[in-house]
């Protein structure tokens, strides 16, 4: 089983090198999709021995992941793991997240509420809980966490779905597609760190409204 770790990154020059190094040390091949960064994200990622491809313009996290998936297909990988560039996730947990794929699952979803969410801001917690109910309403999936970027997918499952959302709404779209195609999935507890850096880099809670808008307006 060839597994590729895909990291979409925009302006993550400060963190990306360490994030990639840790994953490489854990023995995984890494692809960084540089999503129109203005800084030296691509160089930093290359220095840490990641494969790097670059969007000439910023197209959003969903778009970058899709590009990474296309890369994985072209290069004959059979599984991919989605990972964040900002140091919120633990490279040591990649094996754990990817493990269900070897047990016949098509998708494994990281859950910070089964695992540990370290110093999560309260407003963020509220938004995530609301998103849970929205997901339940929208897809019928009963999850303990949603919009967790730490996921593992069989390429064969990704080939079934059509990822059209370029920005953050892609996370909801992935869940909708899991539901629509009745993909066999499993939640895996993961640790998410809320550092000052990630809080500053991450999306604002108000972005939830943008996500809803994208989901309603676009298909």
């Amino acid at each position: 089983m060839k597994t590729l770790v895909i990291i979409p990154a925009k302006d993550e020059q400060r963190k990306i090198e360490r994030v990639v190094k840790e994953i490489v040390q854990n023995g995984w091949p890494v692809l960084v999709v540089d999503d129109g960064s203005q800084d030296d994200t691509a160089l930093a990622a290359k220095a840490a021995k990641a494969a790097v491809i670059s969007h000439p313009l910023n197209r959003g996290q969903g778009a970058a992941l899709k590009t990474g998936i296309d890369y994985a297909i072209i290069h004959g990988f059979s599984q991919v793991v989605f990972f964040d560039a900002d140091g919120q996730m633990m490279a040591a947990e990649i094996a754990k997240v990817a493990a269900p794929l070897s047990d016949g699952y098509e998708v494994a979803l990281g859950s910070r509420f089964m695992g540990q969410a370290k110093s999560i801001p309260r407003l963020k917690l509220l938004t995530l809980k609301l998103a849970l109910y929205f997901t339940r309403l929208n897809t019928g999936l009963k999850l303990s966490d949603t919009h967790n970027g730490f996921q593992a997918w069989q390429i064969s499952a990704l080939k079934k779905i059509n990822l059209t959302q370029d920005r953050q709404a892609y996370a909801s779209q992935l869940l909708q597609e899991i539901s629509r195609h009745k993909l066999k999935f499993k939640e895996v507890p993961v640790t998410i760190f809320y550092t000052d850096y990630s809080k500053g880099k991450g999306q604002s809670v108000f972005n939830a409204f943008n996500i809803l808008w994208d989901l309603i307006i676009k298909k």
Binding site: A51, I53, S54, P56, L57, R59, D70, Y71, D166
Partner: protein, 110 residues
């Protein structure tokens, strides 16, 4: 009335620009004709507002002005919707392009 003159003058300006765009081939013949019909219709309504009152009573609205406003709002919403869809498609195309460039330039040093 003065308002009629002002409105007609403004619309004639629009039509003037339309002719320019058509000459420079920025819009197609059909677009040119379509917009002309809309603007000429507007001039007729401005000069002879009673026409709308006649139509308004026919369709069951009491005042001609009301009918014009209803129709205009519907038109504006329709155009807005079309523009949104168009922008959306353009965004998707840009993403596709970026993706192709990224995958094509995979081995180039950037």
């Amino acid at each position: 009335m003065l308002i009629q003159l002002i409105l007609v003058a403004v619309i004639l300006m629009f039509i003037g620009r339309l002719v320019g765009q058509f000459r420079n081939q920025k819009i197609s013949g059909w677009e040119f004709i379509g917009w002309n019909i809309i603007w000429l219709g507007a001039i007729i309504i401005i000069l002879f507002p009673d026409i709308t009152s006649f139509l308004a009573i026919k369709v069951g609205v009491t005042r001609g002005v009301d009918l014009v406003i209803y129709v205009s709002i519907i038109l504006v919403f329709y155009l807005l919707f079309k523009m949104l869809m168009r922008i959306e498609n353009i965004e998707k195309d840009i993403t596709k392009l970026c993706r192709q460039i990224a995958l094509r330039d995979e081995n180039k040093d950037n």
